[in-house]
């Protein structure tokens, strides 16, 4: 079966010389709910940026459902939806326009697009806020707009970079339910998060990245058969165990 995402020896060096991703290889099977964990600066967002076209990989290859994300970028982009960590929108545009424009860029005809936008605006409880400028929305509402925008093209691979950062518990739970529904319906999901609970609850496969390399990768069950579960495995894989133990001892 063609993997939903296949990253092979990805390396990304910024013009400043900073090596953001040293050597990342991973495979996500279609229909998987894949958790991508790692400390700040580990290379999670850069990897996602290379997958979605925001960054150019320095070397390595990325294939999305078998389509090369660099050589055949137009076809590859059609398959992906991205909810980035930072709000990358026109802050003066309305919530509805932000979602609608993205549908337009994906070439969705007006009638079908309006229906889809209406559904997403309703699904994320944005109806009373749809005409408000993005900058006037609260943090949680902004996050909902970004999520609705990521889903407007009905992507086969949904990439969520810290989607629940700064949102209230209610929305987080609601979003979890929605993501599980989407995943059940066949959407492959790549999720990065700092909330271990979120990864534990949602993901079937987990990879831990540290210093630009994958240091652990496997089915969720593997992490839970170890003493201390995912938290212990995460701290151990990212080399934080000693510091953590010292803090606890104090």
């Amino acid at each position: 079966m063609t993997p939903a995402l296949e990253i092979s020896h990805l390396r990304k060096v910024y013009r400043s010389g900073t090596v953001a991703v040293e050597d990342v290889s991973l495979t996500i099977q279609p229909g998987d709910f894949f958790g991508f964990l790692g400390p700040n600066g580990a290379g999670k967002s850069t990897t996602i940026h290379c997958v979605t076209g925001i960054s150019n990989p320095t070397s390595g290859s990325i294939r999305i459902f078998g389509v090369d994300a660099v050589a055949d970028y137009r076809e590859a982009r059609k398959l992906v939806g991205l909810s980035p960590q930072e709000f990358n929108v026109d802050p003066f545009a309305s919530a509805r326009n932000i979602v609608d424009w993205m549908g337009g860029y994906f070439g969705i005809p007006a009638k079908e697009r309006h229906k889809r936008v209406d559904m997403l605006i309703e699904r994320f409880e944005l109806v009373p806020h749809a005409k408000k400028p993005f900058r006037e929305l609260s943090g949680g509402l902004k996050r909902r707009v970004i999520l609705a925008r990521a889903m407007v093209n009905n992507p086969k691979l949904l990439v969520l970079d810290e989607p629940t950062a700064g949102v209230d518990v209610e929305l987080r739970m609601d979003l979890w339910r929605y993501l599980q529904e989407l995943n059940r319906d066949g959407t492959t999901i790549l999720l990065t998060s700092h909330y271990l609970e979120e990864i534990e609850r949602l993901c079937r496969t987990i990879a831990i990245v540290a210093k630009g390399r994958i240091v652990r990768n496997g089915p969720k069950e593997e992490f839970f058969t170890e003493p201390g579960g995912l938290e212990r495995a995460y701290l151990s894989a990212t080399g934080k165990t000693a510091d953590h133990a010292q803090v606890a001892a104090r």
Binding site: G53, R77, N88
Partner: protein, 255 residues
């Protein structure tokens, strides 16, 4: 590969909505500036200047005023559009979409042309009030407005991709484009310049643009029209190819 017309139209309507938020800056300011140029240089000063090639001075000046505003509108549109999208990171919405590089550039330049044409038509309306508008050849008029818009649209995109600060957006405009416009024959014929200064006109690309538009409007030309047209098309093609290459490698667009 089919063209993503819906994506292209989305880029255009999105930018129209942005411009709608700043109508004074986008539409009213160039028209007021043109009105003042027409009034002072054409009407007040022009009343004391003999006709040029059988045309009143105001009729001679008007094509130059239109061209100056086309140049300025297209450059400002391209720089503000691309630089603001980079600054807000909303350019990432386009980068993650299935638009080709040609479509991304085509969408940006379409808006540049639209704004320039609207500005040019607005000035023609003002010129009509002063009884100074002639149209020797409409296709020629459209050729010059569209080609020059493309050239300064491409230049504006290059500057917007290069700029790290708002200040840098103005460098090319202040130090090159505006001075070259002024000495490119907006207010005077080449014959009015002393012979030792005429190279300033003939060596200046803006001269060929202004001369071309003047020919389109009043049928008066001081330079080789065919050379001017070929040079203009070639310049647009070269700049377009450079912009395409910059998009393809992600210069100023992708980290």
């Amino acid at each position: 590969m089919t063209v993503n017309w819906i994506g292209l139209w989305t880029m255009v309507r999105r930018e129209i909505q942005r411009l709608w938020r700043v109508p004074i800056q986008a539409v009213v300011a160039p028209l007021i500036s043109a009105l003042l140029f027409i009034f002072i240089f054409g009407f007040v000063v022009g009343g004391r200047i003999a006709s040029i090639g059988g045309y009143r001075y105001l009729e001679f000046v008007l094509p130059g005023v239109v061209m100056m505003n086309v140049v300025s509108a297209s450059f400002l549109q391209a720089t503000s559009q691309i630089y603001f999208q980079r600054f807000q990171k909303s350019i990432e919405e386009i980068l993650v979409s299935p638009l080709s590089y040609v479509e991304m550039i085509g969408g940006a330049v379409s808006i540049v042309i639209l704004r320039s044409v609207v500005t040019a038509l607005g000035i023609l309306v003002i010129g009509t009030i002063f009884g100074a508008v002639h149209m020797h050849s409409l296709p020629e008029f459209l050729f010059w407005v569209i080609m020059v818009s493309m050239i300064f649209g491409f230049l504006g995109i290059i500057v917007a991709l290069w700029a790290k600060t708002f200040e840098q957006l103005n460098v090319l405009m202040v130090f090159f484009i505006q001075p070259l416009s002024m000495v490119g024959g907006v207010f005077n014929t080449v014959g009015m310049l002393p012979p030792w200064l005429r190279w300033l006109a003939y060596g200046n690309p803006l001269f060929y643009f202004i001369n071309g538009l003047r020919h389109a409007m009043i049928g008066f030309s001081e330079g080789p029209m065919a050379f001017g047209a070929i040079f203009t098309v070639a310049l647009a093609a070269v700049l377009g190819a450079i912009v395409w290459r910059l998009y393809a490698i992600g210069w100023g667009l992708r980290e």
